[in-house]
């Protein structure tokens, strides 16, 4: 089993900025730090942060306004949550089910556990 497989730094930064948008650090419509400001803050190569911003733009999370910088898209929060839901179902949930099967946890037990968890 593969325990640890980390995505490239530019994708980690894209996820980090997505987290910050979800946490409200950068609100929809607000300007995010420039590529250079962000690179200095997290001590990372400029081109790497550029790639993260490009990626976020292609995902519809950031908008680039020429000469002004990058802004959080109005529907960024919904876009991030939709992406994360998709990633959860296609990867984390699959891994979780795989472990459940290996250990002989039944679907009924899982459903019961999840119901209990939601009540907490």
């Amino acid at each position: 089993m593969i325990f640890k497989e980390r995505q490239s730094i530019y994708l980690q930064i894209a996820e980090r900025i997505s987290d910050e948008i979800l946490a409200g650090t950068y609100a929809p419509g607000a300007r995010v730090p420039s590529v250079r400001e962000y690179a200095v803050m997290i001590e990372v190569n400029l081109n790497t942060v550029m790639r993260s911003y490009d990626t976020l733009q292609s995902w519809g999370i950031l908008d680039m306004k020429r000469g002004l910088g990058y802004f959080v898209a109005d529907d960024a929060v919904q876009t991030i949550l939709a992406r994360r839901r998709e990633a959860f179902i296609s990867s984390q949930a699959t891994e979780f089910f795989e472990t459940a099967r290996t250990l002989g946890v039944t679907p009924d037990e899982l459903a019961e556990m999840y119901r209990k968890y939601l009540k907490q």
Binding site: M1, I2, F3, E5, R6, L11, E43, N47, R51
Partner: protein, 293 residues
Amino acid sequence: MIEVKNLTVGYSNPANTPEIFEHSNDYDSPEIVLRNISLKFESGKVYGLIGRNGAGKTTLLNCISGLIWRPSKKKVFLDGMPLSNGNPDMTSKIFYAIDTTPTLHIRVDKFAKKLSLYYPDFSMECFNECVEMFHINYSEYLDRLSLGQKKMTYLSYAFASNASHIILDEPTNGLDITAMRTLRKLIASNMTDDRTIIISTHHINEISSLLDHIVILNNRKVAFDHSVNETGRVLSFVEADKETDKQNALYSMSSAYGNRLILPNTSGIDSEIDYELLYEAVLDDSKKINALF
């Protein structure tokens, strides 16, 4: 941009200093320090140069900075022109912070003034910002500074020089944790599209987040020369239990969990590079790794 074309360096003269050869009939001779090296250092990129002790890193840096130079041997090109160390227009385009910084009895700020005569774009403002970030007292004398402080002072000179090519030999030697972070911030903030930064280091993990490109020297040759983007796209670096995927691995190293593996990347998602693992894999069998690129 600095370009190196078929560079061979060896010892042959009575003075026992390395010099550039036209070519060599015997690349395996112990006299040879670098054998037939060709590399390109492009503008707008940060290069990491790694290799064992004695792999030839410093010799290579000495050549691309013009410290080792022979007018008749055109092997190193600066922005397309053969490098000439007698030409101030060229030498002012390169700042080379050597590993063992010279010990001079001169004040930190006075030496900056002297350097500003060689570097027409030298910025005192940038220099003052740098020494402040590193907490260096600029009225101190260079020869009274500790190894780490000397390193930081030379790094400050390097960035203040505004040279388009900044070459740093082992910049992290002697730096404490805070100074290391300052160095990373300085590189991130001073990088521009028309600047090339070349960093040689043994402590690759400390500067890996800044790199665009990785060059590994081994056995006096270039063993690896690929961009970070390409490396993460072609190779996948994972940690797995003892049984998984070991037979498909290009390289494996045992770890607390089982094994750290390099696999061909088939996921379509770029992987984060495990530099230590990549380095060991390249030293072990560079052909196997390079075959995937």
